[in-house]
């Protein structure tokens, strides 16, 4: 195994890890570690010199604002929980059938997000 140390402040570690895994492949990429703005990319014994350069390119091209599917799902779950907790049902009896359907539809969507469906 060989390590590459790269100064990389402000990364989205999970997203970058996903990009490195996809870009380098499982047989070359042995994971990475991150602390205090320093990223260490761990390459397996199968890695060639070109893989180290490829790893640096991937880190350089990384956009920290991009999220993994798992992070997006987690954010949607948190938002759905917040919406359900703050839902005001005081006007339910006065709402039209269409308005009630809108509320029911939103509740079902939020429950789906929370349950991960």
């Amino acid at each position: 195994m060989s390590d590459i140390r790269i100064d990389a402040p402000g990364i989205n570690f999970e997203k970058l890890n996903e990009e490195l895994r996809t870009g380098l492949g499982e047989t070359v990429y042995g994971g990475s570690s991150y602390h205090a703005g320093v990223l260490i990319v761990h390459l397996t014994a199968e890695a060639a010199d070109a893989d180290a350069g490829r790893a640096r390119q991937i880190v350089s091209a990384h956009d920290a604002s991009q999220k993994t599917a798992g992070q997006v799902a987690a954010e949607e779950k948190t938002a759905a929980l917040a919406r359900l907790r703050e839902m005001d049902m005081d006007d339910w009896a006065d709402a039209t059938a269409d308005e009630q359907m809108v509320v029911i539809w939103q509740v079902l969507k939020d429950m789906q997000a929370i349950l991960g469906g």
Binding site: E14, S32, H35, I40
Partner: protein
């Protein structure tokens, strides 16, 4: 705040062997006294963690938890024999229950436990991870102890919370060694 690390070497010296009829001098008696004090104050090292960012890894091979620095590396000179190594910290073993986070320690560059190390967990919730490990039969001299970890897959992210201000997880791990 910042992490603090204290390392204290042993003051143990090989005890004097008396011979029949030998005159007991103050030098000899002070040597005995110094060794008693050495037993009272054995070699130890402790790292109290308070960092600006948490530690994370997806490494599938054993790596230092603090590969970017040396906060979780302890170096002490011992008188030879056994050393206790301990760790307590708040951790998130993985973002998915499908992956395991594994912990180990190395002594002078060699991991003390093979296979999956000292402890492994695949909990997706935050939990306390704590262990004590007895290292036996060390030679007298300077030794280096490191906290190590790895994941079962590069798809899983292990996290050690390091007092970095993460909401409700602003916890402070401790890594220590003590000669016994």
């Amino acid at each position: 705040m910042a992490s603090t690390k204290t390392e204290s070497d042993t003051s143990w010296a090989t005890p004097h062997v008396f011979t029949a009829g030998e005159l007991v001098t103050s030098t000899i008696m002070n040597g005995l006294k110094d060794n008693v004090l050495a037993l009272k104050d054995p070699a130890y090292g402790v790292a109290d963690i308070d960092e600006a960012s948490d530690y994370t890894t997806t490494s599938t091979a054993w790596v230092d938890v603090d590969g970017a620095g040396a906060t979780l590396t302890l170096e002490v000179e011992t008188g030879g024999g056994n050393v206790l190594v301990g760790f307590t910290g708040g951790m998130r073993p993985s973002s998915s229950a499908a992956y395991y986070m594994k912990l180990n320690i190395s002594v002078d560059g060699t991991d003390v436990a093979g296979d999956d190390g000292i402890a492994a967990s695949n909990a997706t919730e935050r939990e306390v991870v704590s262990f004590v490990w007895l290292v036996t039969g060390l030679s007298a001299g300077r030794h280096t102890f490191k906290l190590r970890w790895k994941m079962s897959s590069a798809s899983g992210t292990g996290t050690l919370y390091a007092g970095a201000g993460t909401t409700d997880l602003d916890t402070h791990p401790q890594f220590w060694v003590m000669e016994v």
